[in-house]
Amino acid sequence: MNALSGPRFLLALWRTNLLSVMEYRASFLAQVAGMFLNNTAFLAFWAIYFQRFHQVHGWRLDDVVLLFGVVAAGFGGATCLFGNVVRLATVIVEGELDYYLSLPRPALLHALASRMVPSGLGDLLFGFAALAVVGVGSPEEALRFALGAALGATVFVGVLTTVHALSFWTGDSSLLAGTVMQGLILFSTYPLAVFDGWTRFLLFTLLPAAFVGAVPAGLVRSFTWQGLGELTLAAAVAMTVAIVLFRRGLAHYQSGSALQVRL
């Protein structure tokens, strides 16, 4: 296996996923457009809020739109490219891992990248539309936006994979994972400045929503190497914990002996 076989394998998976979801063209487009509108509704909330209050702890409408854009692009990218991250616990408890373990590819990567969530594309598009709305100052800003969203997505995938991987020991952890996902999205789309004390501490540690939203968004407008370093470190830690836990969990995995045919 040469060095390029990994990326080529991923590209092939993503291409197949895209063709698969586009099989039902109308449903695919409805989900993409629906998610775009869904996010727009939340911005309507913020527009009404700031029309009345103008700013909250220094955050204005533009800052929140940018924050929402970074989170949407990161979350959308993650669920487009690694769609099984939202249902990995089900993959584990229903024995679907048998399929991935039987092939000469990294099981976790293969499992995560084997599904695309169509609405994720709506999130991704919304993210870049939000960037356009707040006004891209320069190509560097757009690049920093994409980099921030990608690192935020890595933190998101790492944390969710970790919680889903608990299924190896605890049985189905879907409910916990769903709650963590909801918490990550919820807390990452609100101005970090409104959180203080223990809540703020948790957002940088146990539920690292700050690294999914506020920190990547901060890189776009006021870039610092330290900020980038912290975000990269957070992404590396999140993914390392996820990979180590998943590998250890495999020792506890009990095959579902499910007969699966993939066409």
Binding site: A26, S27, A30, G34, L37, N38, A41, F42, A44, F45, I48, Y49, Q51, R52, F53, Q55, V56, H57, L175, G178, T179, Q182, G183, L186, F187, Y190, P191, A193, V194, F195, D196, T199
Partner: protein, 266 residues
């Protein structure tokens, strides 16, 4: 046989659905956790807001807003989901079996959805009220608490009628998912869940207040915190008017759907 005999089967249907919901409680637990998370986030947002603006905005203080939000979220999280069930039944043809059974189709769904949502309503109410109480103290007005047994069923009924109407559109549109999404977003924004209508700009507040979305979420939440306010009677009257109007729409869509239905095979 007494005059109440026909009602018994619908009560039985509700009871069966309550048991089914209690047998699989994870969904209800998930929603209870969600409401706690929502209240925590909103507490932080509005506390930060009130630190800047002062004690009250448009007549509402921090305690009012947090309790308002908790009640509005209880309505959101315990809404009956008739639309996907009806759309699925139309798509897979099982609606043909439902229509010939010895019950009234719409009453069956009404009683079944009551059963589905009662445990969720109870759990989210306890979790949401608990989180609000721990955050900002007791409810602002106990008359609002007394009104809740009236207001929550009215809001639930509005949600049911809207969701059923959307589901019945499946006779025409087949896939109703997009309508459901739009309806939920309208509840969140125009229904005043995320920001009370009291904070809307004047021109938008007047229009939004007249829509059924406000009667579904804003009315119960606002009446909980301001039950004796000047517009209280008006809010209640508007809710009843929307129930009558949407009830008629639901009935008309049902009759229209029956006329379009073609059942093949045996």
């Amino acid at each position: 046989m007494t005059a109440l005999a026909p009602a018994r089967k619908y009560v039985a249907i509700s009871r069966i659905q309550v048991r089914a919901a209690l047998a699989y409680p994870l969904d209800a637990v998930g929603r209870a956790i969600a409401i706690v998370l929502f209240v925590v986030v909103f507490l932080h947002l509005w506390r930060a807001t009130y630190q800047v603006t002062g004690r009250t905005v448009a007549g509402l203080g921090l305690r009012d807003v947090v309790w308002y939000f908790a009640i509005a979220e209880v309505v959101m999280l315990s809404q009956p989901r008739t639309a996907p069930l009806l759309a699925q039944a139309v798509k897979d043809g099982s609606i043909a079996y439902q229509l010939v059974r010895p019950y009234r189709f719409l009453l069956f769904h009404l009683s079944a959805r009551v059963g589905d949502t009662l445990p969720v309503l109870a759990l989210t109410l306890v979790a949401g009220a608990g989180a609000a109480w721990l955050s900002v103290g007791a409810p602002p007005d106990w008359r609002g608490v007394a009104l809740l047994p009236v207001e929550l069923p009215l809001a639930w009924l509005l949600n049911f009628l809207m969701s059923t109407s959307i589901g019945l559109l499946a006779f025409v549109a087949e896939d109703t998912t997009a309508f459901e999404w739009i309806y939920n977003k309208l509840l969140l924004v125009a229904g005043g869940v995320l920001v009370p209508l009291d904070f809307f700009p004047g021109w938008l507040r007047g229009t939004a207040a007249l829509l059924p979305f406000a009667s579904t979420t804003y009315a119960p939440a606002h009446l909980f915190v301001r039950p004796g306010g000047p517009g209280a009677i008006g809010l209640l009257a508007l809710q009843l008017a929307w129930i009558a109007a949407l009830g008629s729409v639901t009935w008309a869509l049902y009759r229209h759907g029956l006329r379009r239905l073609v059942v093949n095979g045996g």
